[in-house]
């Protein structure tokens, strides 16, 4: 089984890349952004015992990574079905 047409293949790949870029931006923002570059600014905010920047660097970024990968898996599953390229 494969794509019905050349344009379908292009559209599928384009949607895949758009999703990927979107998620990689979040990946970058939570780790390199909140955890490293903006850490001093975010440390001004305190949540419970955690300074926010410190929390992102040692906890928050990791939780976000997990969510990102599962969201990606789910969305790609939908995309595969939409273009009829899911392997069932």
């Amino acid at each position: 089984m494969s794509f019905k047409s050349e344009s379908d293949a292009k559209a599928y790949w384009k949607e895949n890349l758009a999703l990927m870029v979107k998620l990689l931006v979040i990946w970058f923002v939570v780790s390199f952004g909140c955890g490293i570059l903006l850490v001093d600014v975010l440390n001004q905010i305190q949540i419970g015992g955690y300074k926010l920047g410190f929390w992102f660097a040692q906890q928050g970024s990791i939780y976000t990574f997990v969510i990102l990968v599962f969201y990606y898996t789910k969305k790609m599953g939908q995309l595969d079905r939409k273009y009829g390229v899911d392997d069932e």
């Binding site: 599928y12 990946w27 001093d40 990968v69 990606y72 898996t73 790609m76 390229v85």
Partner: protein, 576 residues
């Protein structure tokens, strides 16, 4: 029961389980040997990947490092987890679709070049071997410490066990054993953490306890920790940057793409049935890894606080050396903890001031192992930690050895030197290659080279600067040709190697470092361990420039790139 007896029993039971699984899951074909027949469920595969990935370094060393680096230690936490996001989105599904056994095989096919395949094999072997040395050393140390035998005996026992289940079982045996090992290592890591969190903060979940107030007061644990360490002249725990912001950025990036480019992690994704399983398998692996990686910073902070509180229960009132607890004495015996009464008052002073500090040695690697003793947990917990450390070291060593043996038997022998050998002969060759790799790693474990610590940086640097960019460009660009890929890989490795060598000595031999290991000579203040990120950028740049100025890849390669982007029609991974 005696701690010693209990340790023998717990470690003995876990080993009986591993060996039992190895016998039950013997590999009969090359496919079962290399990729477990391609039929592993994604959750199971995720668990095995997690055990494969988390080595003795993650289990024993990481929390100890963070305990003394504070915020700066975040580079390891983000770096070693963030890599799985890249792996899940950029590499795993496409490599699974391509459906071959090894990483060099993909590089060789995509760049239609035997040279590219050989360059990839060389990179793979160098990074895996350097990694295995560290694991072997960890196995030796752990066995000798807990079974109270010599280091050499401990290492020998460990080698025999790895040999038995890795050589017999191949990927199939390794995968099922790793699932058992994951369960043991994660229990061994979280149980003490829960106890300690409960006693310090009253909250049983370490991730939450770390952000809570101390039991019986309204002071936050982290505020108290900051206060205690700064009073003694150490850097504030929650804000101490590692060298500089630029360096932290480069270090984190280097670890992330190094993770995504490490071949023994990538081949795990060839073992699942479908493309969508490769995606979710990366997610499950990350879940199982995140359980340990979000617990680690809590363990680190709490261990540091406990250590400080033991030595100086209230500000200005130090512990008398004669009153020191049992764990203090135990670790003094190993030489990893040393006290020197400089001012002769019989009290222990622990400060950042080198002149006055009397804790002359506090080895970071003892923190996780000593933690249950510091917190006065029951003996069975301490025995479990011993079994957990061994599980972590053994599972990673087995995965690495498999990656090495498949590179030798499948890529070098079958792919290049003797293409006509039968499957049976290849299987035999890979078992011999694996036995050879164990012997070599064992030899290096008996005679640990001085550069053992430095080579870990090299392993990540190499993977980040050579394998990862080649794979990524191979999937996402149909324009990169063989000239570009080969030039890129060689340029990336060379730049990284040169930088590491010029600051740490050629092949780490002291005295040959031609620029000196001085921060003032570092490129933008980036330490050698973090340089893989720069090497990767060089790789991408060279590959693009060279590909643009040479001929585009042939038509069938462009079709191949189109083909791997479509998730359907996955064949079971196969030879040719």
């Amino acid at each position: 029961m005696e701690l010693q007896t209990l340790t023998y029993i717990v470690v003995g039971i876990t080993f009986a389980i591993y060996i039992g699984i190895a016998i039950w899951a013997r590999a009969g074909s090359t496919k079962e040997f290399y990729i477990a027949g391609g039929g592993i469920h994604p959750v199971a595969n995720g668990m095995a990947t997690a055990a494969d990935w988390m080595s003795a370094a993650s289990f024993i060393s990481m929390a100890g490092l963070i305990a003394f680096m504070g915020y700066g230690g975040s580079v390891f936490l983000m770096g070693w987890t963030g890599g799985f996001v890249i792996l899940a989105m950029l590499l795993a599904p496409y490599l699974r679709k391509y459906g071959k056994f090894t990483v060099p095989e993909f590089i060789g096919d995509r760049f239609y070049s035997r040279t590219a395949r050989i360059v990839a094999v060389v990179c793979l072997i160098i990074c895996s071997v350097t990694y295995v040395i560290g694991q072997m050393k960890g196995i030796g140390v752990a066995f000798s410490r807990f079974l109270e035998v010599s280091y050499d005996t401990g290492l020998l026992v460990g080698m025999c066990i790895v040999f038995f289940y890795a050589v017999l079982g191949g990927m199939k045996g390794i995968t099922y054993t790793q699932i058992a090992q994951y369960c043991i290592l994660i229990l061994a890591y979280t149980i003490p953490a829960i106890f300690i969190s409960l006693s310090l903060t009253g909250n049983p979940i370490p991730q939450l306890g770390f952000g809570s107030t101390l039991s019986g007061s309204d002071v936050y644990l982290l505020d108290r920790l900051d206060q205690v360490v700064t009073e003694l002249g150490f850097a504030e725990y929650t804000t101490s940057v590692r060298l500089s912001t630029v360096n932290m950025f480069a270090y984190t990036l280097s670890l992330m793409i190094g993770t995504a480019g490490l071949p023994h992690v990538i081949i795990r994704f060839f073992t699942v049935p479908k493309v969508k399983d490769a995606r979710s398998s990366a997610g499950w692996a990350l879940v199982f890894i995140a359980i340990l990686y979000t617990t680690a910073p809590a363990v680190a902070g709490m261990a540091r606080l406990n250590l400080m509180n033991t030595i100086e229960p209230t500000s200005g009132e130090n512990l008398a050396y004669d009153d020191r607890p049992q764990w203090f004495k135990n670790w003094e015996k190993t030489g990893l903890l040393q006290f020197e009464d400089k001012n002769g008052d019989g009290l222990i002073q622990y400060t950042a001031d080198k002149e006055k500090n009397e804790m002359v040695k506090v080895d970071r690697d003892i923190m996780v192992l000593a933690n249950p003793e510091i917190a006065q947990l029951p003996n069975w917990v301490i025995a479990l930690v011993a079994a957990g450390g061994l599980a972590a070291a053994l599972s990673t060593a087995a995965g690495l050895l498999l990656a090495i043996s498949s590179a030798i038997s499948h890529d070098l022998l079958k792919g290049v030197l003797m293409p006509d050998i039968s499957e049976k002969q290849e299987l035999m060759a890979s078992r011999i290659a694996m036995a050879g790799a164990i012997a070599l790693a064992g030899y290096l474990g008996f005679n640990p080279p001085d550069f053992a610590a430095g080579t870990v940086a090299l392993a990540f640097g190499l993977a980040a600067s050579s394998i990862f960019p080649a794979l990524m460009m191979g999937i996402f660009s149909s324009r990169i040709n063989k000239e570009g890929a080969i030039a890129g890989m060689i340029a990336g490795i060379t730049v990284t190697l040169l930088y590491v060598f010029q600051h740490k000595g050629i092949m780490f031999v002291p005295g040959t470092e031609f620029l000196g290991d001085m921060p003032s000579n570092w490129f933008f203040g980036i330490e050698p361990n973090a340089f893989g990120a720069v090497g990767a950028v060089v790789n991408f740049a060279v590959a693009f420039a060279v590909s643009r100025s040479t001929q585009a890849p042939p038509q069938h390669i462009q079709e191949l790139v189109e083909h791997i982007r479509v998730p359907t029609g996955v064949k079971e991974a196969q030879d040719h």
